[in-house]
């Protein structure tokens, strides 16, 4: 996805200084319009609080320490779930991409499980784990597993066979072949999987925390709803958006660093 973004940007509009700022124009404009609409009473504050109220609510929660605690809990759940699901998905992707036997053994099963929407398992997961931490981690890991598994598998299977033959001709051992040819060749596809997985990670976490949790951002939003604190509800949603964006940016930076050989990432 990112490859296409960066290719389609024509040279002429890439002014170096403005470049980093340009993407913030639209969000800032939206906030400004929203503020005006709230202050003038065009949008009733019972429907949507003014941005300033949201910031104020955020400030209060920050002072009480509640905000940081909840963000930290959500962040921790997201990361651990991602790590667990991601590494298992990566491991299966590697195994099934490299070994026909392993693929024959497990791929069909995994494809079948993939067709069950993982959020449909929530009732079952609650029965199994209660509203324990493991319930959330399980759901996030399950959601993250498939995009990483599928894209790792796809990446490895689409490595140019001519390059693999070249590596063999030049006497690479299996390990070298993996390190120097197969893994770097699969990396662009693995990154696509990671970025998909990050999206699914937040989605899963929001749903899970809203339904079954006693801490975290989703829980904070649900509590606020019970007390009709609409500014806190909106605040939670905005923080989710911000964290999602942050995770995506981090993966982009990583992508740029590791794929600097790729024509799409070279300086123009």
């Amino acid at each position: 996805m990112s490859l296409i973004d960066s290719i389609s940007l024509p040279r002429s509009i890439r002014l170096p200084r403005v470049d980093g700022l340009i993407q913030w124009i639209v969000p800032l404009a939206i906030i400004a319009i929203w503020q005006v609409a709230s202050v003038t009473g065009f949008v009733p504050t019972r429907v949507l609080p003014a941005p300033s109220d949201v910031v104020l609510a955020g400030w209060k929660l920050l002072l009480s320490g509640e905000l940081v605690r909840n963000i930290w809990v959500s962040f921790w759940r997201a990361s651990i779930g991602f790590l667990i699901g991601g590494s298992i998905g990566f491991a299966f992707g590697l195994a099934n991409g490299l070994s026909q036997l392993s693929a024959k053994l497990t791929d069909t099963t995994l494809q079948m499980v993939r067709n069950v929407p993982h959020l449909a398992l929530i009732p079952l997961v609650i029965l199994w784990f209660g509203i324990d931490e493991s319930a959330k981690l399980f759901l996030v890991a399950l959601g993250v597993f498939f995009p990483i598994y599928l894209n790792t598998l796809h990446g490895i299977r689409t490595v140019d066979p001519q390059l693999i033959e070249m590596g063999r001709i030049y006497g690479m051992t299996d390990g070298e072949l993996f390190r120097r040819v197969i893994f770097p060749g699969a990396l662009p596809s693995i990154f696509v999987g990671i970025r998909f997985a990050l999206g699914i990670m937040w989605l899963t976490l929001i749903v899970a925390e809203t339904i079954a949790a006693s801490s975290g951002l989703g829980y904070m939003a649900m509590q606020a709803r019970e007390f009709m604190l609409i500014d806190v509800v909106v605040l939670s949603i905005l923080i989710y958006a911000l964290l999602g964006k942050l995770a995506d940016s981090a993966s982009r930076v990583l992508e740029r660093l590791t794929l600097s050989w790729h024509p799409a990432f070279q300086k123009r």
């Binding site: 490299l98 066979p161 070249m166 063999r168 006497g171 299996d174 024509p263």
Partner: protein, 283 residues
């Protein structure tokens, strides 16, 4: 891992190479840096793909250091022959042996190199690292860098050592591939239409480069090409393959450096082309 790698490349390759080199390690240290070409003998070589009998008994002897070109119409089995020589596919019947008319000598995998029409460079490795790949088992040695740089200089790309392959032109990529093939000082170098994808001018300068490195290093060269004029310009001997056999074996005696478009070469080119065309009319 094993299974997938095998499906992309038959395991016989490594096995057949190992057969050439029973005492590999020992001989390697004694070998002079400037190793000369190896002679090559092929006897009764056959290869089929299913019902398709591609090679039906190839008999061929190539003396050490000779430059041989192989021509023939598309699909006649030129690439197949080359892959068998390079040990990339399994032989159905017959034999290929190197160095039989001198005393039996151990052959290293590094002694036989192939170059294809596609450069097959690793896009994620800089030019110099790509050339180092060609060192085979010597990749980890201390002088790997120096040797790769020397090979890059030989192909005239020393200034591109830190570039990514994606920024190179087609001709430059093919020169990097040549550097990678040369860096281990091979004794047999097989080319499968290495210049097929290049424009006319780049082709000619690459032909000169090929001839120069061949004369400098003295390896045995086997060049598969579609271009008969390229064949007569470079080779000592042109083989025409028809119906799975060597139908014509034409010696090119013209002195080097050769004058492109000279009457002598043009005459040879004409007679080889007429062989090819008459074979085409018969089918």
């Amino acid at each position: 891992m094993q299974t997938a790698l095998r499906t992309s490349l038959p395991e016989t390759e490594l096995a057949s190479r190992a057969n050439f080199a029973p005492h590999a390690r020992v001989v390697r240290e004694e070998r002079p840096v400037q190793a000369s070409g190896l002679p090559l003998s092929i006897r009764g070589l056959r290869k089929s793909f299913g019902d398709n009998e591609v090679l039906r008994g190839i008999d061929l002897h190539i003396p050490a250091g000779q430059f041989v070109a192989i021509v023939g119409k598309s699909g006649c089995g030129k690439s197949t022959l080359l892959r068998l020589i390079a040990g990339l596919d399994k032989i159905d019947a017959g034999s290929i042996s190197f160095g039989q008319d001198i005393q039996p000598k151990a052959i290293q995998p590094e002694d036989i190199r192939v170059m294809f029409q596609e450069p097959r460079l690793l896009p994620w490795a800089r030019v110099l690292a790509n050339v180092e790949v060609g060192l085979g088992r010597d990749r980890a040695s201390q002088d790997a860098h120096a040797r790769a740089e020397k090979a890059l200089t030989e192909v005239g790309l020393a200034d591109k050592r830190d570039q990514w392959p994606s920024v190179l032109s087609g001709g430059q990529k093919q020169r990097v591939a040549l550097g990678r093939a040369l860096v281990s000082r091979p004794r047999v170098l097989a080319f499968d239409e290495p210049l097929g994808a290049l424009d006319a001018l780049t082709r000619i300068s690459m032909q000169r480069l090929l001839e120069r490195v061949w004369r400098d290093q003295g390896f045995t060269a086997i060049l598969v090409t579609h271009d008969v004029s390229e064949a007569v310009a470079l080779a000592d001997r042109v083989l025409v393959i028809e119906e799975g056999r060597i139908a014509h074996d034409v010696v090119v005696n013209a002195a080097r450096p050769r004058q492109r478009g000279s009457a002598e070469l043009a005459g040879l080119e004409g007679s080889i082309l007429s062989h090819l065309l008459s074979a085409d009319d018969r089918t």
